[in-house]
């Protein structure tokens, strides 16, 4: 009697147990979880990051049988770095070497682009076993922007010209500039010798809107953004050359490159393929033409025949 009852209990629960075991296995079907042949691409919450993530995804799909998944909307370069370090992601769609030099390696010795590039590549390899690929071909940098009208009213052309109006100005910035060392607000005040009335850290995607709708007097934007064109914003020349250009590259975990050897040549195909003008155009299509980054990326790859033959 007892054994019969136990058998029935087992019979009842066995399918359930089996279900849990299969489902909680390495990867949940349909979601591209954590299985070995899934490439996990980290992307931050900017348009540019999401376009590049979709481009990488499209390239991997075109050239291999690997699965891909995008870990999207990460808030900063620190988060995507941590994700890679903790092996929650295999690569980050875009890393800027100048940012990594300061925020990850915590160095502020120089602003020389060459020194930054070699140091970051070397230290990422040595310390974190991550490979910094060659630049996509575009660099990004911080840039002060105002509306044409405001520029005319106050006769602004360079950042130094802001000195007079600065104490009354409201300035929109991204969420990390305040805390950056060598090129952050603190260093900026020292270099240019003035500070702004109010600075408002916000989601970088929102600063352009805020400027165009006159909620801000000036913003510190990214030079690659598509909205500079659509709002016809006035870029102020960094006359003290305070902000260095930051080369953009994909950075992958060595572990992932070893596990899936097809990956390295695929990523290498993008070397130098996306010059600044191209990136601005792609950003513009997403930011102004109601197209998803994935839609824009797929069209771009098709138009360029997935960079077939263009391997260096």
């Amino acid at each position: 009697m007892m054994t019969k009852r136990m058998k029935r209990v087992i019979k009842l629960f066995l399918p359930l147990v089996a279900l849990v075991v299969t489902l909680s296995g390495c990867s949940l079907p349909g979601l591209g979880g954590t299985s070995d042949d899934t490439v996990r691409i980290a992307a931050q919450n900017t348009t540019e990051q999401q376009i590049m993530a979709a481009i990488i995804q499209g390239m991997i799909k075109h050239y291999s049988n690997l699965d891909t998944t995008v870990i999207n909307n990460l808030g900063s370069a620190t988060v995507s770095f941590q994700a890679q370090k903790n092996d929650e992601a295999d690569l980050t769609a875009i890393r800027f070497n100048g940012t990594d030099y300061q925020t990850i390696l915590k160095k502020s010795a120089t602003k020389d682009p060459k020194v930054i590039a070699t140091t970051v590549k070397r230290d990422f390899q040595k310390k974190y076993h991550m490979t910094y690929f060659p630049s996509y071909g575009f660099a990004d940098t911080y840039q002060f922007m105002v509306t044409q009208k405001y520029a005319k009213e106050h006769n602004l052309n360079t950042v130094s010209d802001l000195k007079k109006t600065a104490p009354q100005m409201q300035v929109g910035i991204d969420q990390i500039w305040m805390n950056r060392k060598a090129d952050g607000y603190g260093a900026f005040q020292k270099a240019y010798g003035f500070s702004f009335g109010h600075v408002y850290p916000m989601q970088i995607g929102l600063v352009y809107n805020a400027l165009a709708s006159n909620k801000m007097d000036a913003i510190l934007g990214y030079s690659t953004d598509g909205r500079i064109g659509s709002y016809n914003l006035k870029l102020l020349k960094d006359d003290k050359q305070f902000f260095p250009p930051y080369q953009a590259s994909v950075v992958a975990n060595d572990k992932a490159l070893k596990r899936n050897p097809q990956l390295r040549p695929i990523l290498k195909r993008l070397d130098g393929k996306i010059p600044l003008k191209t990136m601005q155009r792609l950003n513009y299509q997403v930011d102004n033409n109601l197209q998803e980054p994935a839609t824009v990326a797929n069209k771009f790859l098709k138009d360029n025949n997935y960079f077939e033959g263009g391997q260096n």
Partner: protein
């Protein structure tokens, strides 16, 4: 784009990004379903167990209640600290929130089974497992279904927040819309399908709930 009103923009958006929306819709639904299925696998046996051992019921439901009271963003972030970014964190969060409605309803459903019917079953010489399988579960299925229904609606909402830890889904579209210039149409393109998914899931499971209702003669 500026010369179109928001609904024309929305239409334009769907026309150009339809496949993308569909893939995120799929992903969103899958994440929610996985969480709820796991919760059902764990929650229904727990519900049955505490219906048989009522001393435990206060404790178990109390704990599940506390979990329910915790704001979902806080829970999601805490689990993220433990499990890292990505989809698994969201599935675990959904699982935790789906537990309470499922456990509670299973428990209530089991308790509501008429004692006379149980006695009749015993009188016919049924074993405990037979009583469970042939009487208690079928009779409480409708109430359990109601719990799963609540759980799934909750799950769809939590999955939307899951985009903040990189899990993807329709929340991605909403977040991108909030970052975009004049993103109103994009926000709607993410928010409307999310709302629709919740409403449709609710009414479909509501249909099954009525179908399984033992007092509903049409299903017999």
């Amino acid at each position: 784009m500026q010369n179109m009103n928001i609904f024309q923009q929305l239409f334009y958006y769907f026309a150009h990004n339809g496949m993308y929306v569909l893939s995120q819709f799929d992903r969103h639904f899958l994440i929610s379903i996985y969480g709820v299925v796991f919760a059902a696998i764990v929650g229904i046996p727990i519900g049955i167990f505490i219906a048989k051992h009522r001393k435990l019921s206060g404790w178990v439901i109390g704990i599940a209640n506390v979990i329910q009271t915790v704001p979902s963003l806080a829970m999601l972030s805490l689990i993220m600290l433990a499990l890292g970014l990505g989809v698994n964190t969201v599935i675990v969060t959904v699982f935790l929130y789906a537990l309470l409605p499922i456990i509670k309803n299973t428990y209530t459903g089991m308790l509501n089974v008429n004692a006379d019917v149980l006695d009749a079953g015993k009188g016919m010489g049924m074993t405990r497992v037979q009583i469970l399988r042939l009487i208690e579960i079928p009779l409480s299925l409708s109430v359990i279904m109601a719990g799963i229904r609540n759980a799934l609606v909750l799950a769809i909402g939590i999955t939307a927040i899951g985009s903040f830890v990189g899990a993807g889904g329709l929340g991605d579209i909403i977040i991108r819309g909030t970052n975009a210039t004049n993103g109103g149409a994009i926000i709607l393109a993410g928010a409307l399908p999310t709302a629709l998914m919740a409403i449709i899931s609710d009414s479909v499971l509501g249909f099954f709930e009525r179908k399984f209702d033992p007092t509903n003669k049409t299903s017999q």
